[in-house]
Amino acid sequence: MSLKIRVMPTLLYKDLGLVKGKGFNSWRRTGSIMQAIKVYNMREVDELIFVDVTATGQEREPDFECVDEIADECFMPLTVGGGIRSVDDVRRLLMVGADKIAINSAAVENPQIITDIAKRFGAQCVVVSIDYRKHDDGRYEVFTHSGKHATGLDPVEWAKKAASCNAGEILLTSIERDGTMTGYDVELTKAVSEAVNVPVIASGGAGEYEHMAAVIKDGKADAVAAAAMYHFTERTPLEAKRYLREQGFNVRF
């Protein structure tokens, strides 16, 4: 039996508040973190992703105190990303209540860190987050530092490498679709899902429930993340799951 599709909201955190941008830019404030966590808790969402979008750019370590406060109210699985540079950062995040961590820039610079974290805490808690852009010529490229640094890496190859280093999951985010609500990049999600045998979370571009169905069915995603859709429209994770169930997908209620 295949696993249930996970529908997960992404909360982006920047300078003490929740934000949502477009193409990793033009951030808008979307409200208090604790309020959002409580609402998602009450609605029993499948999982939460919480990313501190400016930590790496500002060369800051993760805000452990903030994650501690969030995790105390979060009785659902919590993945935390942003600013993670070392195995010790991971230890401290898990200690204050994160269930999984998402690592991006530091993993590109030194893939060995994936192996080191997995060896210490198990592969299941290492999510490798891959931000990518599709260039005009159709070529895909991985970017780090919140979309600012080009790496020359191909996302499919990098996902394979990350999985071989013992990543437990891949979080795939399309930078140019981020915040546009025009749909996920189904093509690239499919290419990555077929290249690795760890779970793949599709992210970037969700605006309609139909987008989720498409990236699950045609993109073979195991989970669908969304942010703008929940912040700026009437759509909710619960309604998303109802829609997916009607379409014949296996979801949790």
Partner: protein, 205 residues
Amino acid sequence: MSNVVIVDYGMCNLDSIARAVEECGGNPTVTDQPRELSNATQIILPGVGAFPDGMRNIRERGLESALNDEVIGNKIPFLGICLGMQLMANSGEEVEPTKGLGWINGDVVKLKAKGDDTRIPHIGWNVLEKTWDVPILEGIEEDRDFYFVHSYHIKVNNEDQIAAYTPYAGKFVSSVCHDHIFGTQFHPEKSQKVGFQVLKNFLKY
């Protein structure tokens, strides 16, 4: 008043379980001191991480004999969660073969994919198939989902000690039970209402 001792053996994720115990009406104490175990009304062994590190930490802190004294000797109700459940086995094969606590007659082995669409680690929500109405799973309907995040599972030799299976990678043992000793591969502290029901069942056992 209850004194639910949550054993800190350096394998993290103590906050979530302590908060969940509080929410379920229990009074948690997080400690790495062996002597504190003697004041426990219940003991919880949580854990995320690799089997050998877990056992080494337990031994280095002198917790193995304290656990044996209280759980086996004084029959204090015990709940192992995820790695905490796996450590009750005779042995684990993760990273390097390691001897476990030996309370459950079984061994911890890697999940093996069955068919192309089985992805390992097993991450997400899945159901339990109860083998009998074990106390900690009382009142839990079979279609309820629990949160799993793991790559290894316990293979139990003694069928009486199996409390539930979960249908994934074939099927694996997702809960064990031996008298007052319980274990869950899933995370009750992260499984929302239905998870809290499991913790409440344990706290009143």
